[in-house]
Symmetry: C2
Subunit: 200 residues, 2 copies
DNA sequence: GACACAACATACCAATCGGTATGTAATCGC
DNA sequence: GCGATTACATACCGATTGGTATGTTGTGTC
């Protein structure tokens, strides 16, 4: 009975199962037992790779939540020729209109709302992710501003903060109403807000 | 040893302690033991007034969260002579800038984010509260629209949805950043959005 | 090939959870 | 005043929680 061992891969499997479990139930209600049942592993494996449930949660924040947000919502802006327009397109992206994603909500927002008042370590890491996101929007607006596409009296920093906030607000409301239509209607209003920052 | 009994009052005390506990830790992580310790009562008392933790939570939603929102964010709009302007003032209300309120977040939003995907009974009641709120904004905008204060091409329904969403988004982000300044900056942007709906 | 260590599995633990069964005292109806 | 019922208090319960101690097996190293 020889069983192959791939520690890096099992670690990743634990992270993915934990991400799913946390996305469904939140961190505090996330059950180690469920994660183990999902992966088919046992406690020995999990506590070999992660010293505690909290450490596992923080790893999920950094290596899953943060990375996914980078790939989906930040990277597209970096290569954009007309960042502000790419931003508006991003707000209407079909990627975010997935049924289950709307039902379960934005993983970043979920964790922020749950953990921020409860655990400082979580809060700080989540804030860092949030700030990277906000900064990406700010730079996108500023680049478009220098290109004359965004009105020059616009406060890009404050606008970026508001866009991130409103985005999370829309996903949160749509999550409660369990409606893709609500999500679209809400994000459409946000799009027109961003459009109001443009020239003409 | 005669102890006076005021069942209505003890029920209210349980509700208030539960509201505090839930506001701090969320519903699922809220501890019955903590609530009892806070009130000085015992399990016998609590389970006499409420059949289960879930029923207690739903009562908190209806009798505490819903009522508070009515008094603070809806009633002020009913008597307003210029509803849209009252709405803008409401967004800058000092009442919502209380330190602890920002640290712990909006009770309605907290519960929506936590409970919507997990429990349908919670979701429905929270949605009702949310819809009443949205409707109050919609009617405020519409009244101002008929008075010629809000531009007539504005979609009041969609705008109200967005205002509620963005508001909750702002409180959520400020809660994570634990900053009254962030809250103010964010709500200020929302104010200017609403202002952009006005005539001229 | 033997030794060392990493990568797991198994079994167990105390603490906490929501909930219940039972007991007791205050209050209300007559 | 007396029985019935309401309003609690006390003690207990099974289930689940995150965590640990110990065992076993694969794997790289010399």
């Amino acid at each position: 009975m020889e069983t192959i061992r791939q520690p890096d891969l099992t670690r990743q499997r634990i992270l993915e199962a934990s991400f799913k479990e946390i996305h469904r139930h939140g961190f505090q209600a996330a059950s180690i037992a469920n994660i183990l049942a999902d992966t088919g592993l046992t406690k020995g494996a999990l506590y070999h790779h992660f010293p505690s449930k909290k450490a596992l949660g923080l790893a999920v924040v950094d290596e899953m939540v943060g990375v996914r947000l980078n790939e989906r919502n930040i990277r597209p802006l970096h290569a954009a020729a007309h960042p502000a327009h790419t931003l508006i397109e991003l707000l209407g992206d079909k990627q975010h209109q997935d049924e289950e994603y709307i039902r379960l909500g934005c993983p970043l927002n979920n964790l922020m709302q749950e953990m921020s008042p409860v655990d400082e370590a979580f809060r700080i890491r989540l804030t860092h992710i949030l700030e990277r996101w906000q900064l990406a929007f700010e730079e996108a607006l500023r680049r478009s501003q220098m290109a004359g596409e965004v009105r020059k009296e616009v406060n890009c920093h404050a606008a970026a903060l508001f866009i991130v906030s409103a985005w999370e607000g829309c996903t949160g409301i749509a999550k409660n109403m369990q409606s893709v239509d609500v999500y679209r209607a809400c994000m459409s209003q946000l799009q027109s807000y961003v459009a109001s920052l443009l020239q003409n």
